[in-house]
């Protein structure tokens, strides 16, 4: 599976943070402001997204 398809399997919150941080290059503080969550939530969502994507991509 390629990355773009794998990203579609992510929950919306994790996908949004992954796109903003790892594709668009935004910082957690900026993402928190943009999507209305705490900075810690942004970090947790990114960790979750990266872990889920690695799991999907190595299958």
């Amino acid at each position: 599976m390629d990355l773009e398809k794998a990203m579609q399997t992510l929950p919306p919150g994790a996908r949004a943070v992954f796109v903003l941080h790892d594709v668009e290059g935004y910082k957690h503080e900026e993402i928190a402001e943009l999507i209305g969550v705490a900075t810690g939530t942004s970090k947790a969502q990114l960790h979750r997204a990266r872990r889920l994507l690695r799991e999907v991509l190595v299958r």
Partner: protein, 224 residues
């Protein structure tokens, strides 16, 4: 350091945001742990692929060059969409918009926003007609018309996909759009008093551009 502790720190490690002590501890752990080194390698590969994806939703047409030409040279205002990532997000227009929002609250005027302004400020389906929009011929009429078309198209696309967005993201976008629309309404009022003001005309155009960028960003989120 255990493998679980290492796994929790890998994100900060590859992002370069881990403190020095933890960085050294993790490096030591990775040197002796094949499984965690494999995790690190997979993570770096993932980030490399992610950084190779397109970074911006391509607009059907960038309106700014035409608008800038109509408005002529500009002195004090920095374009809000220039610069890397979010560093170009806020400076001139959103700061102005945020300041206006604060001013609304501070002056206790939030409850005096007219129904038209409220309708124009309601995202994503509220852009039937911009608040305070005065259809007079001239450069700014053309600018308003073109940006209204651009935002309407984006709002329509967003409306079709809004269920794909997280509720907190929708709330944040609606909040941003409301602030921007309120700023637009205030700028139009000021322009009605001073229609030839270069800075005000530039501020109106750049605030419109800000709205387009906001909608492009969220529309992209709904598509990926």
């Amino acid at each position: 350091m255990t493998c679980s502790e290492a796994e929790l720190r890998l994100d900060d490690f590859v992002d370069g945001t881990l403190g020095e002590r933890e960085f050294q501890e993790l490096e030591l752990h990775l040197a002796g742990c094949d499984a965690c080194r494999r995790q690190e390698r997979d993570l770096r590969e993932l980030l490399e692929q992610a950084s190779a994806l397109p970074r911006e939703l391509s607009p059907s047409r960038d309106l700014w060059p035409d608008v800038a030409e109509r408005l002529g040279p500009r002195s004090a205002f920095r374009l809000p969409w220039r610069g890397p990532a979010l560093s170009g997000w806020l400076p001139a227009t959103l700061a102005a918009a945020a300041a206006l929002a604060v001013a609304f609250v501070w002056l206790g005027r939030a409850d005096r926003i007219t129904d038209d302004q409220r309708q124009a400020a309601t995202a994503p389906s509220g852009l039937a007609r911009p608040a305070g929009f005065s259809p007079e011929p001239g450069a700014m009429f053309e600018t308003e018309r073109e940006y209204a078309q651009a935002t309407s198209a984006l709002l329509a696309a967003l409306e079709q996909r809004r269920e794909l967005l997280a509720p907190e993201t929708l709330r944040a976008v609606e909040r941003d759009l409301q602030v921007i629309d309120e700023a637009l309404a205030e700028i139009r009022k000021a322009l009605a008093q001073d229609p030839d003001s270069g800075p005000l005309n530039h501020l109106l155009a750049s605030t419109h551009q800000k709205k387009v960028k906001t909608l492009q960003r969220v529309e992209k989120l709904s598509r990926i």
